[in-house]
C-alpha cells in the first residue's frame, strides 16, 4: 500500500524535485513490468538474429554459387529487403500475411520481419568474410586435394568468422534496438511497455530514462560477449602474451602490442642468417660429369611420371599454352625456364588440375586427369578427390600457408582432413617433415611469425606430407628476400638428390637449375622452344631466344644472392 501511495502522489502531484525523479527512476528501473518486457525484446532479437543468420547463410551461398539464377534471386531479395524500412516489413508480416492464411503470433511475426531484414546484411558480411580469405590459401587447399566442403569448413570459415565478429557484434546491437519497432505490432516489449506506462502515469522522463538504461545494459552485454569472442578467437592468445586487458576500451596500444608480439615470438628472423641448428651439414652438392651421366642413364629407364600432350589453353583469346608436349620420368628433376607469361605457371597448374585446359591430355602416373572412367568431365568435388589420389604436390611462389594454423597444423591438418589419417599419426608425420626442413623448433609458430624462407620450407613440408609422386614448384624463391633464398634451395636440392623425388620447378635461378635439374625446358609463347640436359642447354643454348634469355638473366646475376 505504501508503494501504491507513493505512485498515487506522483500521479497527482508531479513535482520537479530531483530526489523524487531519482526515486521514480529507480522505481521504474526495478519494475517487473518493464523487466518482463526485456524478455520479449530478447526473444524478438534472438529470432531476428538466428533467423537472419540462417537466411543470410542461404543468401550468401546463393550469391557465391556457380549458378547465375540463384545469384540473381538472392540479389533480388537483397534489393527488396535491404531497400524497405523494417517498420513496413513488421506491419506486412503481421497484417498482410494473415490474408494469405499465415497468421503468426505477434512475436513470431516480428521475429520473421527482423530476420528477413537482417538476412541481407548478414549475407553481405558472410560474403565479404569469405571473399576476404586469401585466394592463395584456397589454391593451396585445392592443390592439397581439399573438396569445396573441407575448404569451407577448415580454411575459409575459421578465418572468415574471426574477421566477421566485430561486424556481427554491430549487427546484434542494431537488431536489439530494431526490435523496439515490434511495438507497432503489439509485441509487449520494452519500448511498448515504456510508452504505455508513460501514458498511464505521465512520468514520461523517469520511465524513458529507466528503459534507456535497460537498453544500454543489454547492448553493453552484447559488447562484452563480442570482446570475449574476439579474445577467445585471437590467434595470438595461444602465445599467452595476449591479455584480456588488451581489449579494454581505454587500451590504445593494440597495433603496437601486436607488432611487438610478432617480434617477440619470431626470434628466427633477426637471428644470424645461417642457422646452424636448423639444417644439418651435408657435403657440397656438385655432381661430377660422371655422376650426371649415371643419373641420366638410370632415369631414362624409369617409367613415365607425367605426360603432357598437345596442351592448349587460352584466356579470352590469348593463347597461354599452344600445343605443349612434355614427358617427365620418375626421379627426374625438370627446370622450366622462360620469360614471365611464357606459360610456366599455367602448365604447372594444369598438371595439378587447378586450372582447366581447352584441349590436349595430361596423364599423371598413367592416369588421365579431369575425366572419369566413362570419359565424363569431373565435378569440383571429384577433381579434389582425384588430386588427392593421384599424388601431385605443389609449392607456390607466395607460400600460401594457412594463416590460422601453426606450422605443424599446416602439415598435419590436410593429412587428417583429406587423407583420413589419425591425429597421432598425422602429428608424427608433421614433426618428421618439419625436422627434415629444419623447423622442428618452430612447429607451434603461426605463419605470420615465420620468415619468408621458413614459411616456404613449411610449405614444402606440407606438400611432401601425403607422399606425392610428383612435386610441382612454382617459382619457389621469387618472393623471398635474397638472403633467405639459400635455405629454401638447399631443401629442394636435397629432395632431388637424396630422395630422388620427381620435381617440376619453374624458376629464374639459372645456377640452381644447373646444379639440381636433370633437364631444362625453355618455354616461350606457350610451347617448349628448347629442352635438354641442364648443363648443356644452359651453357650452350641452340635457340637464339634461349641464348638471349640466358644472357639477360646472367646480366642480372649480381641480384641473385645464391651462394
Amino acid at each position: 500500500m505504501i508503494a501504491v501511495g507513493t505512485a498515487l502522489r506522483a500521479f497527482a502531484h508531479p513535482t520537479h524535485l530531483p530526489g523524487r525523479h531519482m526515486s521514480l527512476f529507480l522505481h521504474y528501473l526495478s519494475m517487473p513490468y518493464l523487466l518482463q518486457g526485456i524478455e520479449l525484446t530478447l526473444q524478438v532479437t534472438a529470432l531476428g538474429l538466428v533467423g537472419g543468420l540462417i537466411l543470410g547463410l542461404i543468401l550468401a551461398a546463393m550469391q557465391l554459387s556457380r549458378f547465375w539464377l540463384l545469384a540473381a534471386i538472392a540479389r533480388g531479395y537483397t534489393v527488396i529487403f535491404r531497400g524497405t524500412p523494417l517498420i513496413l516489413q513488421m506491419v506486412f508480416a503481421y497484417d498482410a500475411l494473415p490474408h494469405i492464411g499465415i497468421k503468426l503470433p505477434a512475436v513470431l511475426a516480428a521475429g520473421l520481419a527482423l530476420a528477413c531484414n537482417e538476412a541481407p546484411f548478414i549475407a553481405e558480411m558472410l560474403r565479404s568474410g569469405v571473399l576476404g580469405v586469401d585466394r592463395g590459401q584456397l589454391l593451396a587447399g585445392q592443390a592439397l586435394g581439399m573438396t569445396p566442403a573441407i575448404l569451407m569448413r577448415r580454411i575459409i570459415a575459421p578465418q572468415a568468422i574471426r574477421t566477421m565478429i566485430p561486424a556481427f557484434g554491430n549487427e546484434a546491437v542494431s537488431a536489439l534496438k530494431n526490435s523496439s519497432l515490434a511495438s507497432v505490432i503489439a509485441v509487449q516489449e520494452l519500448t511498448l511497455r515504456s510508452t504505455q506506462l508513460a501514458s498511464s502515469t505521465f512520468d514520461f522522463f523517469s520511465i524513458f530514462f529507466a528503459s534507456g538504461l535497460l537498453y544500454l545494459v543489454l547492448t553493453g552485454a552484447i559488447s562484452v560477449i563480442q570482446l570475449a569472442l574476439e579474445w577467445l578467437l585471437d590467434l595470438d592468445r595461444t602465445t599467452k602474451q595476449r591479455k584480456l586487458a588488451d581489449y579494454l576500451p581505454w587500451r590504445r596500444v593494440d597495433l603496437a602490442t601486436k607488432l611487438e608480439l610478432a617480434a617477440k615470438t619470431s626470434p628466427a628472423i633477426e637471428a644470424a642468417p645461417p642457422e646452424p641448428a636448423e639444417l644439418k651439414e651435408t657435403p657440397p652438392l656438385a655432381l661430377s660429369i660422371e655422376d650426371r651421366a649415371r643419373r641420366a642413364a638410370t632415369i631414362a629407364r624409369n617409367n613415365i611420371a607425367v605426360e603432357v600432350k598437345h596442351l592448349r589453353k587460352a584466356y579470352d583469346g590469348n593463347k597461354v599454352l599452344d600445343g605443349l608436349d612434355l614427358t617427365v620420368r620418375i626421379g627426374e628433376v625438370i627446370a622450366l625456364l622462360g620469360p614471365s607469361g611464357s606459360g610456366k605457371s599455367t602448365l604447372l597448374r594444369c598438371i595439378n588440375h587447378l586450372e582447366n585446359w581447352d584441349s590436349g591430355e595430361i596423364r599423371v602416373g598413367g592416369r588421365k586427369l579431369g575425366f572419369d572412367e566413362a570419359g565424363r568431365k569431373l565435378t569440383p568435388r571429384a577433381i579434389a578427390n582425384e588430386r588427392a589420389n593421384v599424388g601431385v604436390g605443389m609449392v607456390f611462389q607466395q607460400f600460401n600457408l594457412f594463416g590460422h594454423l601453426t606450422a605443424k597444423e599446416n602439415v598435419a591438418g590436410p593429412l587428417r582432413w583429406v587423407h583420413g589419417m589419425g591425429r597421432f599419426e598425422a602429428e608424427r608425420r608433421a614433426a618428421e617433415l618439419l625436422d627434415r626442413v629444419g623447423l622442428s623448433h618452430r612447429a607451434d609458430a603461426l605463419p605470420r611469425h615465420l620468415s619468408g624462407g621458413q614459411q616456404q620450407r613449411v610449405a614444402i613440408a606440407r606438400a611432401l606430407a601425403p607422399n606425392p609422386s610428383v612435386l610441382l614448384l612454382d617459382e619457389p624463391t621469387s618472393a623471398l628476400d635474397p638472403e633467405l633464398v639459400g635455405e629454401v634451395l638447399e631443401v629442394i636440392r636435397r629432395l632431388a638428390i637424396d630422395d630422388g623425388l620427381t620435381m617440376i620447378i619453374s624458376t629464374h635461378q639459372i645456377r640452381f637449375a644447373d646444379e639440381v635439374a636433370d633437364r631444362v625446358a625453355f618455354l616461350n609463347g606457350g610451347v617448349i622452344l628448347e629442352q635438354g640436359p641442364a648443363h648443356e642447354v644452359l651453357t650452350n643454348p641452340r635457340h637464339p631466344l634461349t641464348a638471349r634469355f640466358l644472357s639477360v638473366m646472367e646480366a642480372e646475376r649480381p641480384k641473385d644472392a645464391v651462394a
Binding site: 505477434a106 511495438s183 503489439a186 501514458s199
Partner: protein, 296 residues
C-alpha cells in the same frame, strides 16, 4: 444536458485518487453484479461465442478509457475495458488485449489479429469502410493548451490559424484541422500546422516541450493531462464533434455485430453503462443508445 460536461475536471487531483480507489473498491462489486437478466436468452440466441476468449485490440494511452494499471501494469483498466467485459459477460466470452498504435487498430482487426476493437475510436463513414461500428458514446473534445493559453486558442476555428497542433496519427481531429487551412488563407492568416504522433503521451509532451500549441482530443484525456501537469497545462474549451464513439467489429461478421449490439442494449438496460461512467469519472452526458454504422 451539455451544461454538466466538465464536472470531472473540477475535482482536481482528488479525481485521480478517486478513480484509482474506485477501481480497487468497485471491482469486486462489479464481479458480484449479476449478469443482466436478458443475457441468458442472448447466450442461447448467439451461442457461437460462449466460452471463447476473444482478442480486443486497444490503444492503451488514454487513461480513463484504456491504459495500463499503474499499480499492476500487467492489467488494462478503464471505462472501455469494463464495458467490453460486461458485454463479454453477457455473451459468455472473455477478452484478452492486444496493444497497438491508434492507426493500427482497424488494420489489426481487418487482418484477423483481433476480434473486436473497444478503444475510444470515433465511428466515421471513412472508418466504416474498414469495420462495422456499434456506437455507444457521444463525443466531446477538449482543447489542451499551455497554461495561460498564450495563443488564445478557443476551438477548432480561425483561432488555430498559424498554430501548431499535436495530433495522433489517424485521429478524426486531423482532417478537421486540415479543413481550416483554406479558411485561414481566406482570412489572410497563416495555415495551422499539424504534428503527428503515435500516442497521447507524445502529444502532451509536444506541448510541454513547446513544440506544439494545442492538442485537441477527447475531453477526458485532456482533463487527465491537466490533472497531471496543473502548473503547465490547461483546457481552453470543450467542443462538440459530430461523431460517436463506436465498438468496431469485422465487416464480414454481421452476426457477431448483432450479438454485441444486443448485449450492449442489455448492459445499458441494467444501468451498468451509467455506473461505469460514474466509476471512471466520465460525464454521464456521454451516454448514448447504440446504433450501427456501416459503410453502405
Amino acid at each position: 444536458m451539455q451544461t454538466r460536461l466538465f464536472t470531472g475536471a473540477r475535482r482536481a487531483w482528488l479525481a485521480a485518487l478517486g478513480a484509482i480507489i474506485a477501481a480497487t473498491l468497485l471491482a469486486p462489486v462489479d464481479a458480484s453484479a449479476a449478469t443482466p437478466a436478458g443475457c441468458a436468452a442472448l447466450k442461447e440466441k448467439y451461442p457461437d461465442w460462449k466460452g471463447k476468449t476473444l482478442v480486443n485490440a486497444i490503444n492503451p494511452h488514454t487513461p480513463g478509457y484504456e491504459s495500463i494499471d499503474p499499480k499492476d501494469p500487467s492489467k488494462y483498466v478503464g471505462f472501455d475495458i469494463d464495458l467490453g467485459e460486461a458485454i463479454g459477460d453477457c455473451l459468455g466470452f472473455k477478452l484478452t488485449y492486444k496493444a497497438v498504435t491508434f492507426a493500427a487498430l482497424l488494420t489489426t482487426l481487418a487482418s484477423g489479429q483481433a476480434d473486436i476493437v473497444i478503444s475510444d475510436i470515433y465511428a466515421t463513414k471513412e472508418r466504416a469502410k474498414a469495420a462495422d461500428f456499434i456506437t455507444y458514446s457521444k463525443v466531446f473534445d477538449g482543447v489542451l493548451v499551455a497554461k495561460g493559453n498564450p495563443k488564445g486558442i478557443n476551438g477548432i476555428n480561425l483561432s488555430l490559424c498559424g498554430a501548431a497542433a499535436a495530433e495522433n496519427t489517424g485521429y478524426v481531429e486531423v482532417p478537421l484541422i486540415q479543413d481550416l487551412a483554406p479558411k485561414c488563407k481566406e482570412a489572410g492568416k497563416p495555415e495551422p500546422t499539424i504534428q503527428l504522433y503515435d500516442n497521447n503521451a507524445n502529444c502532451i509532451q509536444a506541448i510541454l516541450a513547446g513544440r506544439a500549441d494545442t492538442y485537441i482530443n477527447d475531453v477526458n484525456t485532456v482533463d487527465q493531462a491537466v490533472k497531471a501537469y496543473p502548473d503547465k497545462l490547461e483546457k481552453a474549451i470543450a467542443v462538440t464533434i459530430p461523431y460517436s464513439v463506436g465498438i468496431a467489429v469485422p465487416k464480414d461478421k454481421p452476426k457477431f455485430r448483432d450479438a454485441v449490439m444486443a448485449a450492449l442494449i442489455e448492459v445499458q438496460k441494467e444501468g451498468i453503462h451509467q455506473e461505469l461512467l460514474k466509476k471512471w469519472q466520465l460525464d454521464p452526458a456521454n451516454f448514448k443508445e447504440p446504433d450501427i454504422l456501416t459503410a453502405d
